[in-house]
Symmetry: C2
Subunit: 641 residues, 2 copies
Amino acid sequence: MEHTIHFLPDDVRIKVEDGENLLTAAAAAGVYIHAFCGGDGVCGKCKVHLEQGEVKSDTAASLKQHDYDQGVRLACKSTITSDVTIRIPETIKADGKALKRQPKTTRAISARSLENLIGTWSIDPPVGKLFLKVPPPTIDDNISDMQRLMRTIKAAQPDSPEPNYDHPQLIRQLSTDLREANWEITVILLHGKRADEPDRIIAVEPGDTTDRLYGLAVDIGTTTIGGVLIDLNTGKIIAEASGYNSQVGYGEDVISRMIYAARPGGLKGLQGKVVYTINTIIEDVCKKVYISPSDISYIMAAGNTVMAHLLLGINPRYIREAPYVPSVSQFPLTRAAELGIAAHPSVRLFLYPCVSSYVGGDIIAGVHACQMQESEEISLFIDIGTNGEIVVGNKDWMVCSACSAGPAFEGGGIKFGMRASQGAIENFQIHPETFDPMIVTIGQSKPRGICGSGLISIVSELLEAGVIDPQGKFRRDLNHPRIREGEDRWEYVLAWDRDSMIGEDIVITEVDLDNLIRAKGAMYAGYQTLLESVGLTFNDLDRVILAGNFGAYIDLERGIAIGLLPDIDRDRFYYLGNASMLGCQISLTDHRRFRGRVAVRTLMTNIELAENPDFMNHYMAALFLPHTDLSLFPSNKANRS
Amino acid sequence: MEHTIHFLPDDVRIKVEDGENLLTAAAAAGVYIHAFCGGDGVCGKCKVHLEQGEVKSDTAASLKQHDYDQGVRLACKSTITSDVTIRIPETIKADGKALKRQPKTTRAISARSLENLIGTWSIDPPVGKLFLKVPPPTIDDNISDMQRLMRTIKAAQPDSPEPNYDHPQLIRQLSTDLREANWEITVILLHGKRADEPDRIIAVEPGDTTDRLYGLAVDIGTTTIGGVLIDLNTGKIIAEASGYNSQVGYGEDVISRMIYAARPGGLKGLQGKVVYTINTIIEDVCKKVYISPSDISYIMAAGNTVMAHLLLGINPRYIREAPYVPSVSQFPLTRAAELGIAAHPSVRLFLYPCVSSYVGGDIIAGVHACQMQESEEISLFIDIGTNGEIVVGNKDWMVCSACSAGPAFEGGGIKFGMRASQGAIENFQIHPETFDPMIVTIGQSKPRGICGSGLISIVSELLEAGVIDPQGKFRRDLNHPRIREGEDRWEYVLAWDRDSMIGEDIVITEVDLDNLIRAKGAMYAGYQTLLESVGLTFNDLDRVILAGNFGAYIDLERGIAIGLLPDIDRDRFYYLGNASMLGCQISLTDHRRFRGRVAVRTLMTNIELAENPDFMNHYMAALFLPHTDLSLFPSNKANRS
């Protein structure tokens, strides 16, 4: 259920889901409210006035009863349960005058309909079940049990070629299975990877089990592994689970994992950890819907090149060293149980192929999900992260690259950087005159640090308010307690110690700004280099597709404001979210769509940026907010003025 | 080198290989020589006179020097090393008159040229090697190692589709292997089972190893397992070995093996035993030519249905029980090492498919070897044994059957029956007037028993000499010390205790004759039933193909004389020998010929004789020597007279 919030005096309306936090909604709408403590209810700054409707207020602790009765609420402690009108109080300056509010355009662009991007898919999974009543043998018809089974399958699906079989256990058990089931059995058929390949019988179950057919889509991230259990008879998601990749204990990023893999026993250890995490996820999803892990008939997985190598127990050592070569880029269909995964011995695990050492199966899966390989339109596909991946192309050609942006987007190299979890500042506004912050944290708790989307908010707001200059330096002349010279050069205090979870001031420093600028510069230089390699410019792009969990949280205007995203028509942007998982889900549900992955892999040409002089030039030019070449950023205020 | 022996006074000439034993040669030529002790030199009966040329005499122990100087030799102790003329002395009867010799037609038909039967084959094995100099990666060309390998293969054989790969160890080792070999490697490619299937990379070896490519053909018999090592670069057999199937300890025939397999641990035990024997054979052949078992790149095997099930660890229990159903009839290409065979983990073992529970892969391999599936001519393919297998057909159709002949041909149910080994009477003649025997044993030793081919010789000679009647009963009126009433009804003494290895009289009894008649009757009834099922008679047959080791030793005339073989034009008979092994060898050498096996399997229709009333009628009619219906045996003397 959706509700509308009408913010006054800005006169901004926003639609939100039932149960949304009012402070978060205001931040998303670009409406500034004083909020120093991230939503914990302690600073008492985020007082708003309820003019119409009602909100659910968790606590009135910081409010006097009189104020509450007058309609005053703490935004951070209010939950939207109906349409409301909210008035933000005027800020009273030191001189007693009310500070004039400057209404902003809504910055958050709602996700555009993805339908024409990802299309539709059928319920026609790569694995199927067939219930068969096999006529028992007689002396006049005593072909082998397997031939008999084949003949019955042929009769059931006369237009399909005869299936294969090769699993020793299946063959060894077949005669007993058929007789114990009184010749009424269900076969599980694995469809060929190519259209002309015959099916393969992977298991035989007694009786009619056709109503139980499940598949697991797995996104194997460096940090997080997610699993989605799909009922392959309906195509519906019936359970989800995720967890930290247990390899995290051996290093945060792929480089440290590769270093660990080179140690004695390291590869085996890392493989065991990823398998352990996948098994935990399998256990979790199965428990939720009361099925057994052995009821899962197919596992469709994608991960970056290093994750794929580690899962299959392939040493990734040559990925790390120039010229950055993976051992394998197309992974054979593997029996999941052979890797140690808690699955029926017959169950196959498919791992999306990768293109190069740093453009992995997660990217192929994402591009495959949004059908770039089917469209005339030219798309720029972006997955922002420590290793940012970029793909440009359409149904006739594709080029891709990975650029090493550094860990800033994931909180690395940022003094108070952290992952997007409880207490992370995920949204931020600055009052253009008082320079006071509006801080929104994940989980509405006191702030603990800054996650990637928070960082982009902070930098773009500081830039827009003129607190920092295009080189990421603080203006030294602003006499404001929050802007000060700190240990690591100049800094802005996002939260005072009393308002923070960690009991110390949470700040953003010039060093942090440098790191962010380098990260966004690398991404932007990547787009440019890739486009130039095919003789295109940003204006030639029909679509910009933001993939990845981080991409899903980027505020488009802010991303453009700092020069992380290209400054083109906003209507061309799409938020795809976890595209890798989406690709797995689609492939798991529709094996005709699944086969399209081959086109993606075949079309894609990798361009190495690491030692590319064009990239270096673009990178140097991009170490500015938003860029040294402002003609690339027409909506920048410097151009507008 | 061949030599000619000219026997006088019979005026029979025979060509023999250098080194042939003179007694054996005489027996093969149908020339009767007194010989009571099987060739051990002790009875001193087989004196012959050397008229021309010279023989090598192992010992003159039983000869006086005077006799030796006169040219007298013991046939059993003489080896042919040049062309010779040999005179057989007249037998002096009790009345002092010389017994007139009755020259016989040569009974042994030499093997007809097999060329138009088995044809020719190319050296184009199902597995090949390709030496590659792989260009090392650079920053501008950094596709994965596997893709690089694929590209190099594609460049080397541009017309072949891209090969597959799936062996985890191959993938895990590839990057290291390539670099350690300095990018110069040999790939082992497994060709697709079907023509349109792509190759599969099964192994990568450092450097150029293309001159070392070996394959092993294995014939898995119930009793004996044979192995033939082939240099797949030349197609030449370079080593052979064979040994008793170690399963023999668990029972002589397939029935007792199946009974054992049903016991706890029995299946596993039997599988281990056959694998052990195969491993011994692999060790033997490899030692002979100084290669390592891991140099063998393919194993092509055939065996009967029970042997195939046991090798793959599939319980054969339903083969034994009506309606006699095997679990599987087409066996998947298996990694030999997974079965415990001492082979490189990548090496595949192919097992010829079977048709039914008692028409197995050995028969398919044999039929495949002689190209019945390619010919317009109608062939009758016979493999005589405890389970006799019969196939009739041509390129358009085939029917097959197994008939349970009982173990007589392998020495079972025969009082002094034994396998064809040292001391077995393998050839026999009876003097038509004195009724004295000419006994030839395997290994020219004192007789120990009677093997299958000996049994047929004995019965046909006794029948021809009128010592037994067409019902297999001894003539009671022949007053001869060798013909007597024994423990088991009447019998004929083949060797007196003093001439036998076992220190007792070796006899053939009426019970033995009964068993043989039932065995040959079952075979003959099988031919008839099968031919009738397709509306044919013996006269419609263009070829009769005798397969199997036993078949190779059957004297054609004698086989016809007792009604084991059909009485048709001798020119239509072919001795194929170990057809199963031959099929494996051809398939191992030429994968185009190999693919022809599919046609054999597809064409063949099994006809169950076990409960077939036509078969029972034919069987009853065949319990006579040669048959109740003598019109089927035009060359029988009853017809001639």
